[in-house]
Symmetry: C2
Subunit: 304 residues, 2 copies
C-alpha cells in the first residue's frame, strides 16, 4: 500500500436511464482520472441511472442488478485495465423483493474486494428511498455493517449519502481502521427554495463531512451528482443536484472542490502519513469516554 | 420557557490571576449583554483566571474553589439581579486532591440549577489538563455525565472545550433532550505555527462544532478565550488564544461570530421553533441505526 497518492471523485449529470450511455461517460471520466495519475477513483451514488427515488414506482425495480450485473462487469473491466481502485455505486437486487443501495469496491485485476450496503435510508419528499432500499445488514456482515475495505489504496471506509449525516457511521469506520472515508452521494435542492436556504443546506452538507475528517483524523472523499432531474410527477419541480464534490484532508481542510455544475474527475493528493501526524497533535481516540457512551445505542433518552 | 430569545457568549482576554479584577470585567460584559436583551449568557472556560495548564504546577491548585466559592457567589448575585440564565466555568475543588473543570448553570434567583464536569480531558504540550482535572463522573450522575440542564432559557447541553471534538458528547446531550449545545472553551495557537496551520486548526474547530448543530438539529453557542498568555516556562512561546466565539443555528449556519481579538458579549437570537422545523426536513433521529452502534463503546476494533 502506498501512503501518498492521487485520488479522484467523479461528478456527473445523468441525462436519462440509458445505462450504457451513462456508463460510457462515467468510464471516460475514470480514464481521464487514471491518465492524471489517480490510483483511487470514486463514483457518485447510483451513477448508472437517474435518481429514480423521486417517486415510488414499482417499475423502477427493473433498474436494479445483482452484484455481478452489467454495470459492475463494465466497471471491473476498466479498473483491471487501468490497474486502479474503483468505488462504484448501484441499485442491487439481492433477492426477489429485496433490494439495496450498494457500493462495490474493485481493486484492479483482483476484482471486487468488498461491498457496503447503505445503512441509513432517508425518506423525504422527492427522496423516497425507504420504498426501494432495504437498510444494510447490522448483524450478517462483520462489524455490524460498518466494515472498511482493504485495497492497495488504503483501507476504505465506504458509506453512502444519507450515512454522511451520521457521526456514528464515520466513527465506526474509523474505529475499524479505515484510512479514509468515502461518500458516493446524490443530494440536491428543491428548486423553489430560496438562495439562503439552498446555501444553508449545501454548507451543512459540506460542514458535517469535513467534520468527520476532523473528528477522526482522516481524509474524506465525496462524489456528488449534479444537474437538474425532472420529476415523473406532473407539477413537481424535480431535484437540482448541487454537485460540489470534494476531497478534504485529515483536519477537514478542503484539498479540492468542484462547483455546482462541472462534470468530470476532481483530483487531489491524499497523504496518509499526514493523518498520523494530525492524530499525534489532536489525539481524540486516546480520550474517548467509552465508559460513558452506552446510551448511543438508544433511540431517545426519555425513559420510554 | 420562551422559544425565541437573545443569547450571548462572552469573549475575553485575561491579563493575570487577579480573580476579582477578571470577574469585574466579566460581569460588566454580562451586564452589557443583559442590557442588550440577552436572557442567556455563556462565559468562557476557566474565566476567573489565566489558563494555568500551560505547565504542571502544584501551586496552581490554589486557584480552585468549591462549587459555592467566591466566583460562583459573585456570578449568582449578578444572574439573580439581572434575572438571566448564566453559564459559568471554573476550576472546582471537590475534595482534597480531587479537582474538576466544571461549568455551573445559574437561573436567575433560583440559583444553581445544574453543573457539568468536563468529560474529555486533553493533555498535549501547553495543555496539561490531565494533571489538574479529574474527568467527569460517568456513573455517579444521571445519564453517565451527559445530563442537560433545564432552565427558563431551554434545556442546556453544556459541555466544555475538549468535549467539543467528540460527536458522541453532542449526540448524548441531544438524545437527552438538550435544546442547544453550549461550549465554554479556551483554545489557541502555538505562536510559531505558520498561518496555514493556524487557519486549518481554527477552521477545524469551527467546523466540528457547526457540525454538531447540523447532526443534532439545534443551536450551538461557543465562548472562547482570546489574547496571548505567556508560559511560566522560560523560552516557551505561550498560547495565542484564537477567540472567534460564535453562535450557530440548527443547520450549522453562523448567526454571529467574533474575531480573534475582540472582547465582550456577542449576541444572536436563538429560535427553538427553527430546530423543530429543521428536524422535520432532515429527520436524522428517525433513522439512527441503534441496532448497529454497539461498537461505539469500544476503544478500537482490532479484536484486542
Amino acid at each position: 500500500m502506498t501512503e501518498r497518492f492521487i485520488a479522484a471523485v467523479v461528478q456527473q449529470a445523468i441525462p436519462g436511464n440509458d445505462k450504457r450511455a451513462n456508463l460510457a461517460a462515467t468510464l471516460q471520466y475514470v480514464r481521464e482520472a487514471a491518465a492524471g495519475g489517480a490510483r483511487l477513483v470514486v463514483l457518485q451514488e447510483l451513477h448508472a441511472t437517474r435518481y429514480f427515488c423521486q417517486t415510488e414506482d414499482t417499475a423502477c425495480f427493473d433498474l436494479a442488478e445483482p452484484l455481478d450485473g452489467e454495470t459492475f462487469m463494465a466497471c471491473a473491466a476498466v479498473a483491471a485495465e487501468l490497474d486502479i481502485v474503483l468505488v462504484m455505486s448501484g441499485f442491487e437486487k439481492r433477492a426477489p423483493g429485496l433490494y439495496h443501495n450498494t457500493a462495490q469496491v474493485i481493486d484492479g485485476n483482483r476484482g471486487r474486494v468488498g461491498i457496503f450496503r447503505k445503512m441509513h435510508i432517508p425518506d423525504d419528499p422527492a427522496f423516497y428511498e425507504k420504498f426501494y432500499f432495504t437498510p444494510g445488514d447490522a448483524t450478517a456482515a462483520a462489524l455490524n455493517g460498518f466494515q472498511p475495505i482493504q485495497t492497495r489504496a488504503g483501507k476504505l471506509g465506504v458509506l453512502v449519502c444519507w450515512d454522511q449525516w451520521y457521526p456514528e457511521a464515520a466513527r465506526l469506520m474509523a474505529l475499524a481502521g479505515a484510512d479514509m472515508l468515502i461518500y458516493p452521494t446524490a443530494i440536491g435542492w428543491n428548486p423553489p427554495d430560496d438562495a439562503a436556504e439552498k446555501n444553508r443546506q449545501r454548507d451543512a452538507w459540506v460542514t458535517i463531512q469535513r467534520a468527520h475528517a476532523v473528528a477522526n483524523g482522516l481524509p474524506v472523499l465525496v462524489a456528488n451528482r449534479c444537474g437538474h432531474e425532472p420529476s415523473p410527477q406532473a407539477g413537481d419541480p424535480g431535484i437540482e443536484f448541487w454537485g460540489h464534490s470534494f476531497i478534504a484532508g485529515p483536519q477537514g481542510e478542503i484539498l479540492a472542490q468542484a462547483d455546482a455544475e462541472g462534470q468530470g474527475p476532481l483530483c487531489a493528493t491524499v497523504d496518509l502519513q499526514r493523518s498520523e501526524d494530525v492524530r499525534r497533535i489532536w489525539p481524540y481516540f486516546r480520550d474517548r469516554r467509552v465508559d460513558a457512551y452506552a446510551n448511543l445505542t438508544r433511540r431517545w433518552l426519555d425513559g420510554n
